[in-house]
Amino acid sequence: MTAAAEAIIKGPRQLREKRRRNARPKAQPMMSGLFLAIVCVAMLAPFIWTLLSVTKPTDVAFANPPVLAYEPTAQAFVDLWQTTNFYQYLINTGIVAVGSTIVALVIGLPAAYALARAPGYVSAILLILALVFRSLPRFAVVLPMYELSRQLGIHDTTFALGAALVAINQPFSIWLLRNFFVKLPEQIDEAAMIDGCSRFQALRRVIIPMMGPGILTAGVFMFLFAFQEYLTPLILTDTKAQTVPLFIATQLGQTLPMLQQAGAAAILLTGLVVLFAFIAQKYLVAGLSDGAGK
């Protein structure tokens, strides 16, 4: 599975080697190279501009037309750390993302295994329900959750937000994990059970360890989805359990120096996510291209 992802990231071997032999550039590759360069700049432009804006001293940061010659400063980052609860929001985001990913895996793995190994009408109906749940309008479930969390007195807690995300991401995770289990031959289960394992022991000791890359892939996506979420924390949190994306969005209506802090927060968050994506790139690409395989 990850071998296919590697091929997508690095490209076929012949291509890499052929290039080395005839390195003379032609007109067409020049044109496509230029086009790709423009696309890359356009994709990066928002990050570059934000980075410039937040490293400018406050008096020129919002000048129009923009000032490009300036002495870079990290003041916005210092202010972000000292005058706002940014680190608290970062901790909230981390707790919710990690917690909901782990719980979703613990609940989703056995279910996905059962769905893969015991096809039939019950499994088919559950998979269809999961498909429907996955494409629901978010407000249709989050607004009732808002009412429920107020009634239970858990509104604005990381617990309520995490529980909501476990449920919201459950359909996606059982589908993804089920597709990985299906690829694992059933003989492995049988061999383990002949050797004296019960069904649950076989799952825990033999099958789940063999599913390593699949579990990592599902985990990477659930973590990313929870980290990216804006709508759910917007409804289910207030001030205490706020997450970073929500914090950045609520800073928008504020005064200009606070906008610079929001920009600093955006840059920090982007840095973190890109670092995570870089480490997990194989699993990200594997999960994405596997989803298309259906």
């Binding site: 091929a7 997508i8 490209g11 291509l15 890499r16 496509s32 086009f35 790709l36 890359c40 994709m43 928002p46 990050f47 501009w49 934000t50 804006s53 940061a61 919002f62 129009n64 923009p66 279910a111 769905l115 015991a118 096809p119 559950l126 269809i128 329900l129 429907v132 749940f133 629901l136 309008p137 978010r138 407000f139 249709a140 607004l143 009732p144 808002y146 009412e147 107020r150 529980a163 476990v166 449920a167 459950q170 359909p171 059982i174 649950f200 979420e229 804006y230 709508l231 970073v244 994306p245 950045i248 928008l252 955006a266 982007t270 996510v273 890109v274 994506a277 870089f278 994405l288 298309a292």
Partner: protein
């Protein structure tokens, strides 16, 4: 697998999905038939909310805007995604770097990406977009207060956010097209355009369809991107269906919770219709296995 084992394995997941998804949906349907607010029992009003929603011109224009946005973004994302996938597929050593750069906008939160995107156009942040446009014309574009410039900016942002997904899926598709077929077409005298239109595209049509359906579903529920990009959405007529729902059912204490719930119910019905081919596939797969 024994029946008892099956249910033990599957029950926690069912419990979560039914308790935290199905019951809320039931509540939404109930709300759609009532004059109600959060925490209240409310009074039953029949289909009154449905009539009001379907005759509200603001809802009508939000449907039109959302559908138009979805279709135009889908076309751009597929065409541009395909071109990019082909170009990236021909790259050698630069490939991982270019791929990495293009994927950044996919992994960051939508609302954060849209915030940074909006600053490219924001006069308060130096208005880079207008500086660039100023090189060609004298026209000063009001990106946030004029309807069409705002629409274009929102569309560009969604393309920016969805392009990586489309490109990556199509790239995975291109990887699966056997080189022999392309070589054979070359020998038979097919030109570049002919090869793409008659050989490569038909063999990855499954991938193109997948990108189309995911793009449609994602753009139909666009919400996050509009918070930073369209602060005047209601005034400009640039409200999406999801934003309309939010404004009705949650903003200012959710005075129109019933009306907002109607939109949720209608959206669920539309999604169900769109899912029919996938539901049929799943049924078939489950039967044959």
């Amino acid at each position: 697998m024994r029946r008892r084992e099956y249910w033990i394995l599957i029950l926690p997941s069912i419990f979560v999905m039914f308790g935290l998804l199905l019951i809320p949906i039931y509540r939404t349907i109930e709300w759609s038939l009532k004059d109600v607010n959060y925490g209240e029992a409310g009074t039953f009003v029949g289909l009154d909310n449905y009539v009001r929603a379907l005759t509200d011109p603001r809802f009508g224009s939000s449907v039109l805007f959302t559908v138009g946005l979805t279709l135009s973004v889908m076309v751009v994302v597929i065409v541009l995604g395909y071109i990019l996938a082909v170009l990236v597929n021909n790259l050698g050593k630069m490939r991982p770097l270019v791929l990495g750069i293009i994927l950044i906008s996919y992994v960051i939160p939508n609302v954060v990406g849209a915030t940074m995107f909006s600053w490219l156009f924001d006069g308060n942040f130096g208005g880079v977009a207008n500086v660039v446009i100023g090189w060609f014309t004298d026209h000063d574009v009001l990106w946030f207060t004029e309807t069409w410039p705002n629409r274009i900016m929102v569309g560009l942002n969604i393309v920016w956010a969805m392009l990586p997904f489309s490109m990556l899926i199509l790239l995975a598709g291109l990887q699966g097209v056997p080189r022999e077929i392309i070589e054979a077409a070359k020998i038979d005298g097919a030109g570049t355009m002919g090869r793409h239109l008659h050989i490569i595209l038909p063999s990855i049509r499954g991938m193109v369809g997948f990108v189309a359906i995911i793009t449609i579903m994602d753009v139909l529920r666009v919400f996050d991107n509009l918070i930073p990009l369209a602060p005047n959405a209601v005034l400009n007529g640039n409200e999406t269906i999801a934003l309309y729902t939010y404004n009705m059912a949650f903003q200012d204490g959710g005075q129109e919770l019933g009306l907002g719930s109607v939109i949720n119910v209608l959206t669920i019905l539309i999604m169900l219709v769109m899912l029919i081919p996938f539901i049929r596939n799943t049924m078939k797969e489950a039967k044959s296995a």
